[in-house]
């Protein structure tokens, strides 16, 4: 069965001053999948997704999105194709209200019609459970709530590909639970690429897992296979 590929990367590499952070990674992400990207610290996960969404220019390699070659495109053009990205270190508009934070995302993705933007914004803030603080300044939120806000900003764009860089870091346990539910309800229209350290989240949400180690693909497969993969256990999970 040939699944439709949403995103493909071939031979993607990045070196910083002679040091290879990512080295010739081939990567295929089919439409509708929830993919987890795991690996020990310094494996090159953030650099890798940074290259996918255009934050970091690739040293070598090709990237295509829905069959269209996007290598060398600036980040904002890639986002406009239907990617959304949440930062590893929370990045919101601190001085603006929650509403405006999400509205900025919705407005860019869905045009400037006030009523439509309004509707999407409120609906998305409802989904992440922040609907009761529309007018609060984002910087006054707790760290966990800021992460949820950033996820809301991603959802508001109704992305085709949603890239999340360690979304559950710093979340409380009940917040992690609702995050898992949220991801599962995204449905077939949204493909998810998830960098995640919390193995519970990975095992419960991901359809498929890619393991990076020292800038290379160490293993790929469904959660069960990865769990039992010796190389992965040695490199990453320790003794498991």
């Amino acid at each position: 069965m040939a699944a439709v590929m949403l995103l493909e990367a071939a031979g993607l590499s990045k070196s910083f001053g002679g040091l290879d952070a990512v080295c010739a990674v081939d990567f295929k992400l089919p439409q509708g999948q929830i993919r987890a990207l795991i690996g020990p610290n310094g494996a090159g996960k953030s650099t890798f997704v940074g290259m996918l969404c255009g934050r970091i220019p690739a040293s070598k390699g090709e990237i295509s999105f829905e069959g269209q070659r996007i290598t060398g495109w600036p980040a904002h053009r890639r986002i406009r194709l239907g990617m959304a990205y949440t930062f590893q270190i929370t990045s919101v508009f601190g001085a603006l209200s929650l509403f405006e934070n999400v509205a900025l995302a919705a407005r860019r993705a869905h045009g400037g019609k006030a009523a439509k933007v309004d509707g999407i914004t409120k609906e998305v803030l409802e989904r992440v459970g922040l609907a009761d603080r529309l007018q609060q300044q984002a910087r006054d939120l707790s760290y966990g709530h800021q992460r949820l806000l950033e996820i809301a900003m991603g959802l508001a764009q109704t992305p085709r590909l949603f890239i999340l860089d360690e979304p559950t870091q710093g979340l409380a346990e009940n917040e992690v639970e609702s995050f898992k539910t949220l991801i599962r309800t995204l449905g077939q229209d949204t493909t998810v690429l998830l960098i995640e350290h919390n193995m519970d989240v990975v095992m419960e949400t991901a359809d498929y897992i890619t393991v990076l180690d020292q800038g290379r693909t160490l293993a790929e497969g469904p959660p069960e296979a990865i769990r039992q993969n010796d190389a992965v256990q040695a490199a990453y999970l320790g003794t498991g």
Binding site: C53, R55, P74, A75, H76, R77, I79, R80, Y85, F87, S91, V92, F93, G94, A95, L96, E100, A103, L104, A105, R107, R108, A109, G112, M153, Q157
Partner: protein, 314 residues
Amino acid sequence: MSSARSAHILHLGVLGLLFAAFFLLPAYHQGNLARILVLAVYAMGYNLLFGYTGLLSLGHAVFFAAGMYGLGLAMHLGGATPAPAFLAGMIAALLVAGVIGSLALRTVGVAFMIVTLMFAQAGYLTILYFGTYTRGDEGFVIPQTARALWGFDLTDPTNRYFAALILFAVVLLFIGWLVNTSFGRSLIAIRENEERARMLGYDVQRAKWIAVTLSGLLSGMSGAAYALLFGYAGATFASVQYSILPLLWVLLGGAGTTIGPLVGTIFMFYLIDFASEVTSAYMLVAGVAFVLLTLFAPTGIAGELRRRALPWLP
């Protein structure tokens, strides 16, 4: 009442007040206020870039001067009438801002400030270099007879005041509208967090370039109006001091607020006016204001108002 509506009412109220002021104030202050309104347009142009987009330029005098000399030279050398000359001033400012913007925006932060400063300095020196046409520091006077627009004699204090008020009103309402559009909101987003704005899919470079160009255009309109209404163009208006002044007005009044530029310009104008009666070292006031502002009120008068009492202030 929505905040957009409150803002609109505020702007109309301010304009009403300025309209009434003409009939209430003595001639001396009428003259001052006409000058302030024209300079406030400059401040509003500066504020669009500094206050809303978060880009600190130290070279806006070059845009002000482009408008001033665009109009001035068209009238002085080309014998144009005010309306096409004003257009020439706008085009000159637009071109200068477009080019400087596309170059300077390749830099960020402190480098952007220095680059804009350098370009403005080159502009100032260019005006001096072509002294044969521009009359350098000495400048030139635009004759009284030429300064009539559509039958209105702009040297008449009443006509002059209302010409200034109309220009001010148009720009104030334009800014009030602009900052509520998607584009205006995206500028604020860039000011608050450029990387986040980019990763929401906004074309940050393009938006910044438009902001520089628009800001330069408004500054140039102010320069052209200044030359037309007060009948003089001189190289002083292209000097560093005229790049520093709008920064001072905006910081004092409140960066990123629609009425801050007006408030700051009025305040500083009278402060300097008062100081220059006491001492020839009147720019001391500007210096002290800068230091005190950075230390104690970095958000300015309108900014403090917004923080303490009126959160809807645009």
